[in-house]
């Protein structure tokens, strides 16, 4: 199991006794060392999934394992940054980092923390309550990264950062992750921010996983077919993930195991086109047969 960073079976989470399901029937498997983007619209269950993986909440049904264990048993080896970047407002930046170091004496990497905070024009003596959103993000990321986690869970990590800081921190994050073989699981709305860095995708909608697999494999297993909307020869309906009509032209995302109709232009979709098609599709058909390692997780 050492090559699996995170795995879920029939995972469900209900809020409150009579509340609605935030997650239902989720099943997936993430290989160790991957950089995985969790993508989906608001309310898709991304944050719930990440907080379950961090051992902060208990699943209502099913099971989730992080680093091969119950999430609660591996807190020391998992880093997590929540969406709202909670920090103790009354502590200073230095006190916050010192607390992180004292709580993780065996793993703490002060250089990493220093590096993340350095770009933020931060006075170590200033109180956390006086920081800007971007500065808070830096401190929260520094805490998570300096733990040298084997699994790093980031919930909308870059939302409060300007494009420059976003670029800088993403680069830093990826370098560190690559150095240590860290598995990074990151939720985001911003597709562009994921394009270069992710090698694995988890597309969520309405509390369940719609698509799961290695980025390259997923791109290869889909075709973007473009043809006349009124042509007699239309793509086979069961192969169409989603189609859109612009004027007299129809653009359809097809599963690659089905050929595009005669006379249609076909090309490989971009990551953004793939994601948008799956997010827009009201009733997503079964995801295409995924690459070997994710296939067995699909229940």
């Amino acid at each position: 199991m050492t090559n699996t960073a995170m795995e879920a079976v029939e995972l469900g989470k209900k809020f409150g006794r009579r509340g609605k399901w935030g997650l239902r029937g989720c099943a997936f498997r993430l290989p160790a060392g991957c950089v995985c983007a969790v993508v989906g619209p608001n309310g898709a269950g991304k944050s719930t999934l990440l907080s379950l993986a961090a051992g902060l909440e208990a699943p209502t049904e099913g099971a989730l394992k992080a680093l091969g264990e119950q999430p609660g048993a591996v807190r020391a080896r998992v880093g997590y940054v929540a969406q709202d970047k909670p920090l103790y407002p009354q502590l200073t930046v230095a006190e916050t980092l010192r607390t992180g170091a004292e709580l993780n004496p065996a793993r703490w990497d002060a250089d990493a923390a220093e590096q993340v905070v350095a770009g933020g024009d931060l006075d170590p003596r200033s109180r956390v309550r006086s920081l800007s959103g971007g500065q808070r993000t830096r401190v929260a990321l520094a805490l998570a990264l300096a733990k040298r986690p084997e699994l790093l869970l980031l919930d909308e990590p870059m939302a409060d950062l300007d494009p420059l800081a976003r670029h800088e921190l993403m680069g830093l994050l990826m370098t560190r992750a690559a150095e240590h073989g860290t598995t990074v699981v990151m939720s985001s709305h911003v597709v562009a921010e994921l394009d270069d860095v992710c090698d694995h995708l988890l597309v969520m909608r309405d509390g369940s996983v719609r698509l799961d697999g290695g980025t390259d494999d997923l791109l290869r297993s889909h075709t973007l077919a473009i043809g006349p909307a009124d042509a007699a020869d239309q793509p086979a309906p069961h192969a169409v993930v989603e189609s859109r009509r612009t004027g007299r032209q129809l653009t359809a995302l097809l599963r690659a195991d089905e050929p595009a109709p005669e006379g249609w232009r076909s090309e490989q979709p971009s990551l953004e086109e793939l994601l948008l098609a799956y997010l827009r599709a009201p009733q997503t058909p079964d995801a295409p047969s995924a690459p070997a390692e994710t296939q067995e997780a699909a229940v």
Partner: protein, 339 residues
């Protein structure tokens, strides 16, 4: 520098780190509490020392008076009474204040703004997080309140027999401030606050409900406490007043066959007035009875009440732990994941 990180057993240094974090977070509250304990101790020292002496001297002057107008230091008597009352009330306010603080600043705020989750992701397990949050404040609250209760008892006993207006041991406020019950109440307040903070997950809601819950608990204790220890019964004839001074349990009249009846309302202990005499004769009353706790029951009552409160506090803390465990469930029955 790479993945060869020693997985050291997480033990003492992490625990110390958690203690330091707690102290860092609640330094203002700790300083305020220490200052309160020092100030209240100083006040109680003054009550038991110079203020008692001055008041006793004034009472001695007053009692020695043979002529009108009588010259005595009335201000000293009033100063003593006020200082005693305020210091008693300050001590009795501690349990409710602890409940409010425990519910809001200690637990509710952290659950509400997400810093509890931050702590858990920094490697503190939720149950240990709560354990340290309860244990350290419990020590601070227990020691501080315990000291004040001792000082209160010393201050109170300094005035007994010397100050005619000093309160009796069974006067409600004095009784609660004079022994370990107030310490147990404060600890129950802490546990109640923690539970409220976890339950509502909101600082303000816990701030409102935890002290209210404590007052209900206190009220409940006040009702059952007299029955925690067997009371003493004294009887008197109908022409005498009820004997025995202490904590009341029940009183009434006894008929010739030994049966007990309530006092007739409007008559009470008055027999020698025609309508009352008729009413009591109709009941075949032969005397009054009085079930009460004399001064010798002070410690048994205090200790039994304290034990009861500590059990309640432990149950409240247990409920808080169970709630947290169910929410975060580090040890759920495992659902097997097929490899």
């Amino acid at each position: 520098m790479t993945t060869l990180v020693p997985t050291a057993p997480r033990g003492r240094s992490e625990l110390l780190a958690q203690v330091r974090l707690l102290v860092r977070l609640h330094r203002p509250a700790l300083i305020l509490w220490a200052a309160f304990v020092v100030a209240a101790s100083a006040l109680l020292w003054a009550v038991g020392g110079p203020l008692t002496d001055a008041s006793a001297a004034a009472w001695a002057e007053y009692n020695a008076c043979t002529s009108q107008p009588c010259a005595y230091d009335q201000d000293a008597i009033i100063r003593y009474r006020d200082a005693y009352t305020y210091s008693t009330l300050a001590l009795l306010a501690v349990p409710a204040v602890v409940a409010a603080w425990g519910g809001s600043a200690l637990v509710g705020r952290e659950v509400e703004n997400g810093t509890a989750r931050l702590a858990w992701t920094l490697g503190i397990s939720p149950l240990r997080w709560l354990a340290v949050k309860l244990a350290l404040p419990a020590v601070a609250v227990g020691v501080g309140t315990g000291l004040l209760a001792v000082f209160h008892r010393l201050a109170w006993s300094a005035g007994q027999g010397r100050i005619d207006s000093a309160t009796s041991w069974y006067s409600t406020a004095t009784y609660y401030a004079n022994g370990p019950v107030v310490v147990a109440l404060a600890l129950a307040g802490l546990a109640l606050g923690a539970l409220a903070g976890l339950l509502w997950r909101r600082s303000l809601a816990a701030l409102g409900t935890a002290p209210l819950g404590l007052l209900l608990l206190w009220g409940g204790l006040h009702l059952v406490a007299p029955y925690l220890w067997p009371s003493v019964t004294r009887n008197s004839s109908l022409s005498d007043f009820l004997p025995g001074a202490g904590i009341n349990v029940s009183q009434g009249v006894v008929d010739s066959s030994g049966g007990r009846h309530d006092l007739v309302s409007g008559c009470g202990q008055i027999y020698d007035v025609a309508p009352c005499r008729a009413a009591y004769d109709k009941l075949d009353a032969v005397g009054f009875y009085h079930d009460y706790h004399p001064a010798s029951h002070f410690w048994p009552l205090q200790l039994a009440s304290t034990a009861l409160l500590l059990i309640v506090a432990a149950l409240l803390a247990l409920a808080a732990f169970r709630l947290l465990k169910r929410r975060t469930a580090s040890t759920r029955p495992e659902v097997r994941i097929a490899a």
